[in-house]
């Protein structure tokens, strides 16, 4: 296997956590809800995904459980911000800590302290018939587990919804000018609620994927800041699903590179490589801020009867 083929083949699954979590973030963000609890939701997703898979014996059930748990947190975020109009950042940070705590507690309750850490089977690869036969491309793109395909399909689906449907047009308008949307009969609260619930669920799945793909093990620090990177990724992609795919490729590429640099023992401290995504995001924000635009009402709550918005 060539050097490049191998790199890309590793990069594609590494994209999955970024993709799922960032698309989830973008989804609620375009309706104006700025979720900042990704890191916590991913850790929670990883713990629940792992534990349920372990107990039930099915990774699929584990993935759905992770979705449900994170979606529940999303519901809390939606309720607190749309109904009680609490500050989105404050609630998001509180949820981050709550999810982190819940994850640790659950693992301890269910598994306890063991000598040999429990193991779950990793996800099977499903080469797509015919497509996976294509030289190079087949190997890189069409010989992965099902979650990989799902992540790309979900990205495409969100893009299609946002830019190719009337509902998507209406949906995006909420993040730009909720008062205008409301005055045209678009249900702001409903759109913010479902997108935050679904978006958070996707973040949970992104976390659950981690123990299922590489080792079958759950370790406490396995999310390793990816949740924070996802926020940077949403900005880097200008809150647009198609650009987020490109950004996810970049972040995943960095990750694989850092790993290999570490393995090969190259002189550069791998911390520098780990910094690269953040630096890239900053540079893009500085130099391409027009392109990296964000929803005008991102992070702001909407109150119909208040004159203080709009």
């Amino acid at each position: 296997m060539g050097e490049i083929t191998e790199f890309l083949t590793l990069m594609i699954p590494a994209m999955v956590p970024f993709l799922l979590a960032a698309q989830g973030t973008v989804l609620s963000g375009r309706a104006g809800v700025f979720n900042v609890s990704q890191e916590g939701l991913m850790v929670l997703g990883a713990a629940i995904g792992f534990l349920v898979s372990f107990k039930v014996g099915s990774n699929t059930v584990g993935l759905f459980a992770a979705f449900a748990a994170a979606a529940l947190f999303g519901l809390v975020l939606a309720y607190m911000t749309t109904q009680l109009r609490l500050d989105q950042f404050v609630v998001g940070l509180a949820l981050y800590f709550a999810a982190l705590g819940a994850a640790g507690l659950l693992y301890r309750e269910v598994i306890g302290v063991t000598m040999a850490p429990p193991l779950i089977p990793t996800l099977d690869d499903y080469p797509i018939p015919l497509l996976s036969e294509i030289p190079f491309l087949g190997e890189v793109l069409f010989d992965h587990d099902l979650v990989v395909y799902a992540a790309f399909l979900i990205s495409a689906g969100i893009y299609w919804f946002m830019y190719k449907t009337r509902s998507g047009l209406a949906f995006r308008s909420i993040g730009e000018n909720p008062k205008a949307a409301d005055s045209l009969g678009i249900n702001v609260t409903w759109a913010r609620t479902w997108s935050t619930v679904v978006g958070s669920g996707l973040v949970g799945v992104a976390g659950a994927y981690l123990p299922m793909v590489y080792t079958g093990l759950y370790t406490e620090g396995m999310v390793a800041g990816r949740g924070w990177l996802v926020i940077a990724l949403a900005f880097l992609g200008g809150w647009r699903p198609h650009l987020v795919v490109a950004g996810a490729a970049f972040f995943a590429g960095m990750e694989v590179l850092a790993l290999r640099a570490q393995v090969a023992g190259i002189g550069i401290p791998h911390q520098f490589v780990l910094m690269l995504p953040y630096v890239a995001t900053l540079l893009v924000m500085v130099f391409a801020f027009r392109w990296a635009r964000q929803p005008a009402f991102l992070g702001r709550n909407y109150d119909r009867e208040s004159r203080l918005v709009g």
């Binding site: 998507g168 205008a180 005055s183």
Partner: protein
């Protein structure tokens, strides 16, 4: 049909409170079919609130709404739209980076929700815009459009949804006279088409020109409904200011928008010999870095009012901001009271007595979430009156706010009210109170009476007089030609950032100014 047709709209005993503020105190309103119904009343009278209730944006405490005789419950704008009500708000509600078509179709046609086929919509929009004389380019992005066109987009939004009743909340404040005429033409076409229109305005001339009937509101109540045929300008003016007789005739002429305002005698002039402001070779760029004012000379004497007439976008904002010290000057000099001001920070201009009332009050004029007190103290936080031991003396600041609320009759629930909660006209009063309180040496007023009711307009003119008597040099930039002509000692027509004509008081011909403003006149400098 034997029975009489029910009116298009009937609102009965509508009550709406915001905390302790009673905005609507049992209001009744009846709008007939096929009529343009004027909704008049002072700032903060409750006009916008009443219409927001009708449109489902505000939930009333109590009251009934009937459309074509049917009782309806309007819990949200969706309900209002479904019931055939459309509303054009005082500030545009548009998604800036969407096209005209996208803005218009937003939220419609749920059956085609999973497609984005806008051809059909584009066709409908073209059709509607020809039928009602509202020309727009369906594919333009709204943020690139001038206000007049954005206004039409707002109206088309309502028409596209098949509104039977259209509410227009002060639609003419941003329009040129020609655009106002066009709008009224469109309104007539709608009424002929079977619709009813509610028009909120402060301008008597507009009311008389287009309304069939009008309802006057005061302090959250509807005081009376008048037939067009039973009234005239004087009567309406009386009703609108609540029967109190105002000061001089000159003021009236300007406030009423009489075309022949210049015929009114000027008795006293407060212009002194000393030069208050001297501007030489002023060059200013706009936000995009284009040179919008290519060398402007101006001298304003103490106590003099110089009026700048012009169509919006001809460099007024840039000129005003440069003279207020809040926009960088590319070249030239500005002297105020003999002191050269260019290159000094904005705070130095303020301290030297330069006061500025900006045109875009929501963006540049106030901090919406800050209280009235805080907004009033802005910019003078360093002045001795409100300082104690190097800190702000909030007691004194609050005292000032209470006085300003009293003096400028700001309709608010005390000095702690957030400025953004105020009605449009009352926000303007806060800004004016702040500017006049400084006893300025130079005062720059940009559209100072836009959105103000008759009484407040008079009040502003009175304050301007007081300031000029004290020797203040005033630059008045306004799109309201009548106002400029009636108020100014000297009128300058501005076209593309340059002087296209200048007239002394008494020699002004409105039509000539109008031609110069649009670049058609011969320069007469």
């Amino acid at each position: 049909m034997t029975t009489q047709q029910p009116p298009r709209l009937e609102m009965r005993r509508v009550v709406k409170t915001f905390g302790p503020v009673v905005a609507l105190d049992s209001v009744d309103l009846v709008v007939a079919r096929n009529e343009v119904h004027g909704l008049l009343g002072g700032n903060g009278a409750g006009k916008t609130t009443l219409m927001n209730v009708l449109y489902g944006l505000y939930r009333p405490n109590s009251g009934e709404v009937l459309l074509d005789g049917e009782p309806v419950t309007v819990g949200s704008p969706r309900d209002a739209i479904d019931a055939g009500v459309g509303m054009v708000h005082q500030t545009f509600l548009q998604v800036d980076n969407y096209t005209v078509t996208e803005n218009i179709v937003l939220g419609t046609d749920v059956s085609g929700a999973l497609r984005l086929d806008l051809d059909e919509a584009r066709k409908r929009i073209r059709e509607l815009s020809t039928r009602f004389g509202l020309s727009v380019d369906p594919d333009a992005v709204v943020e690139d459009l001038p206000v007049g066109v954005r206004q039409r987009v707002e109206i088309l939004k309502a028409l596209y949804r098949g509104a039977r009743l259209l509410i227009l909340d002060e639609p003419t404040t941003n329009l040129t006279p020609q655009e106002v005429d066009d709008l009224f033409g469109s309104m007539r076409a709608m009424v002929d088409d079977g619709m009813s229109v509610v028009l909120i305005t402060h301008k008597i001339r507009e009311t008389l020109g287009v309304c069939d009937r009008m309802t006057v509101m005061r302090d959250g109540r509807s005081v009376e409904t008048i037939e067009r045929s039973d009234t005239d300008a004087d009567h309406l003016a009386d009703v609108m200011v609540g029967g109190t007789t105002g000061p001089g005739e000159l003021i009236d002429a300007a406030a009423l928008g009489a075309v022949d305002a210049e015929e009114v005698e000027v008795t006293v002039s407060s212009v002194r010999d000393a030069v208050g402001v001297s501007v030489q070779g002023l060059v200013v760029n706009n936000d995009q870095g284009h040179e919008l004012v290519p060398g402007f000379d101006l001298e304003i004497r103490e106590g003099e009012i110089v009026g700048i007439a012009g169509v919006a976008g001809n460099g007024q904002v840039e000129l005003a901001e440069a003279l207020a010290g809040v926009r960088a000057v590319r070249a030239g000099s500005v002297e105020v009271g003999g002191r050269s001001m260019c290159g000094r920070p904005a705070s130095a201009w303020l301290d030297h007595g330069v006061a500025y009332v900006p045109e875009d009050r929501h963006r540049d004029g106030i901090l919406p979430t800050a209280s009235i007190t805080e907004n009033l103290v802005l910019g003078s936080q360093r002045s001795p009156g409100v300082r104690r031991h190097g800190l702000l003396d909030w007691g004194a600041a609050k005292q000032r706010a209470v006085e300003a609320i009293e003096q400028f009759s700001i309709r608010a629930n005390g000095p702690a009210t957030p400025a953004g909660d105020l009605s449009g006209g009352n926000i303007q009063r806060v800004i004016l109170a702040r500017a006049f309180a400084r006893r300025p040496r130079m005062l720059i007023l940009h559209n100072p009476t836009r959105g103000l009711d008759l009484g407040s307009t008079r009040f502003v003119y009175d304050q301007v007089r007081v300031a000029t008597d004290a020797g203040c040099a005033i630059l008045l930039l306004s799109e309201d030609l009548d106002e400029v002509i009636a108020m100014s000692d000297r009128v300058i027509a501005l076209f593309k950032g340059s002087r296209a004509g200048e007239w002394q008081k008494g020699t002004v011909d409105a039509y000539e100014v109008g031609r110069s403003m649009t670049g058609l006149g011969e320069a007469r400098v």
